[in-house]
């Protein structure tokens, strides 16, 4: 299984798209700085800067990147015949699929931690660390501020992974990478819009990408129900994908 995960990283690090995405992340994190100089107004400091961009990163940028990544590591891999090559090695199909899930989880965590460091780095370098951590009109201690920020970033990995598992399910049944991206992006945008119009947020995975409100709720003693929903959502799509993948005839 470790060999399978290593292979996914080897492929990712040799993929130009990945480096373009990293560049995009840097641009996104520099964008507010640029705006500060344009409008000559700044309410940031290094402590709050990472959370300023957290919503955009987890609710828009990361899901779109993951849609493309899943289409590439599942559908594209199958269509190019390379998935078949993996399957004829001494590894089981369960291991092949599970390794892809672990890889996705590692990529998500890696990118989120990179964003976190980028946020702290850019924010502190430009605005200084600052004297207080103020969030939604409330002041927290510096330590609590760091805890809230780190927990928000790290916990976002779970809903993003659950969303990737939905994409993986689509990727295993749709025989075209472009169609997988189209369908997954369609579902993503449609559920984002529908959640604004109808009050069905709790049953949409998009609702959970921005984990900050849930972390704040958890801090004020709320239940772990959102976490259970996210885990169940991911597990269902993992099992469905596995069920199809094990039975799939690899004709390419």
């Amino acid at each position: 299984m470790i060999g399978l995960i290593k292979n996914e990283w080897l492929k990712l690090f040799n993929n130009k798209k990945f480096y373009w995405f990293l560049l995009l992340l840097l641009i996104i994190y520099l964008f507010p700085v640029f705006m500060t100089f344009v409008v000559r107004m700044s309410t940031f400091n290094g402590q709050v800067y990472p959370l300023t961009l957290f919503g955009v990163i987890t609710s828009l940028v990361m899901p779109l990147f993951l849609i493309v990544l899943v289409a590439e590591i599942v559908t594209e891999d199958y269509l190019s015949g390379n998935l078949s090559l993996t399957i004829i090695q001494p590894v089981t199909r369960v291991q092949v699929l599970t390794a892809k899930v672990f890889f996705l989880f590692q990529v998500i965590l890696f990118l989120l931690l990179l964003c976190l460091l980028l946020g702290y780095g850019v924010g502190t370098f430009i605005y200084g660390w600052g004297s207080e951590f103020m969030l939604r009109g409330k002041t927290y201690s510096q330590l609590t501020g760091i805890q809230l920020t780190v927990m928000s970033y790290v916990s976002a990995s779970l809903p993003l992974l659950a969303f990737s598992l939905l994409n993986m399910f689509i990727a295993i049944i749709v025989p075209s990478a472009a169609a997988v991206v189209g369908i997954s992006a369609g579902i993503f945008f449609f559920s984002t819009i529908i959640s604004l119009l109808v009050d069905i947020g709790p049953i949409l995975i998009n609702t959970y990408f921005n984990t900050l409100p849930f972390i704040l709720d958890y801090y004020s003693g709320q239940s772990l129900a959102p976490g259970l929903f996210v885990i169940s959502f991911g597990l269902i799509f993992y099992l469905l994908t596995l069920f199809i993948f094990i039975r799939k005839d690899m004709v390419l």
Binding site: K6, N7, D249, V251
Partner: protein, 305 residues
């Protein structure tokens, strides 16, 4: 089972209502080069995919090196190498990296094996170039290198000569002989029947998903009759003379020679007969029953003239 590296027993497979493999049974023993022939769409690649675990059979069993593929997949596939159809690679990775992807999936396979197989395939100089820049022939050779990476006992080569220039074909042919001498069994499909004839010692012919025949090439090509071409200035006279000879079954006149079918072992007798009758015999060419003829007779029986 001892010497058998591959045993396929009563394998059947359907895609929807279309049955693509009917009760297929085959056996390949150690060090054997097994030619698997059939017209397009006969089920050759499907059977290879079934053997490699890419397609699930509806019925039947497959044993590789004594391990049941369905119940002991990892052990069964551990020492199998394969090039199925056109070998596929990640074009943005180098040849070395593409082989590293396979090496990473085998326990106890040293990294030093990668340059070894690249050397065998004659690709050492281009090992770190992206595969996207390779010609079809180089990809074919890299595919063979990849199939040899895990010290295989059984190698599947699906159309291994595809895309190779004459020099490449000679190299692959010699590589096949080399591997056979090392005790590696090869399972080869090819449309180049004269190539199969040169490298294989056993063959099976499949048509519409059923095995039409299988056995040793020498046995299958052996016939009860011998065929010879007789070159003579007296075509008509010779034809007339052979009409009533007991051991001659058929004599056909062509513009430049007589094509004669006679009892096996009667060629010497035929020469003596012609000399005795003072017929002007220039020379005589024994005609070998080729695999190509055998294949055409069997696979296209009744469909071509």
């Amino acid at each position: 089972m001892g010497n058998t590296v591959l045993e396929i027993s009563q394998v059947e497979k359907s895609f929807g209502k279309h049955k693509v493999l009917h009760n297929v049974s085959l056996k390949v023993v150690k060090g054997q080069v097994f030619g698997f022939l059939g017209p397009n769409g006969a089920g050759k690649t499907t059977l290879i995919r079934v053997i490699l675990g890419l397609i699930r059979p509806d019925k039947g069993t497959i044993h590789i090196d004594g391990f049941n593929l369905q119940t002991n997949f990892r052990q069964a596939i551990e020492h199998v190498g394969a090039v199925v159809e056109t070998p596929k690679f990640y074009p943005h990775l180098s040849a070395y990296q593409n082989l590293l992807l396979v090496r990473n999936l085998h326990r106890n396979l040293p990294k030093s094996r990668i340059p070894e197989v690249l050397e065998i395939a004659g690709l050492s100089a281009r090992a770190h170039d992206k595969v996207g820049t390779y010609s079809l022939g180089m990809k074919q050779r890299l595919g063979i290198a990849r199939a040899l990476l895990n010290y295989p006992k059984l190698v599947f080569l699906d159309e291994p000569m595809n895309g190779l220039d004459p020099q490449g074909i000679i190299e692959v042919r010699s590589l096949i002989h080399q591997l056979q001498h090392q005790g590696i069994s090869l399972f080869i499909t090819s449309h180049l029947l004269h190539e199969v004839e040169q490298v294989c010692d056993q063959i099976a012919i499949i048509k519409n998903g059923s095995i039409l025949t299988q056995g040793s090439l020498t046995e299958l090509l052996r016939s009860d009759l011998e065929v010879v071409e007789i070159y003579t200035k007296d075509l008509l006279e010779t034809h007339h003379a052979l009409a009533d000879v007991a051991f001659v079954h058929k004599c056909t006149i062509t513009p430049s020679f007589l094509l004669v079918e006679l009892d096996r072992g009667s060629t010497e007798q035929l020469i003596r007969f012609l000399v005795k009758r003072n017929l002007h015999l220039q020379y005589l060419i024994p005609r070998k029953h080729s695999l190509e003829e055998f294949f055409m007779e069997l696979a296209y029986e009744g469909s071509i003239s």
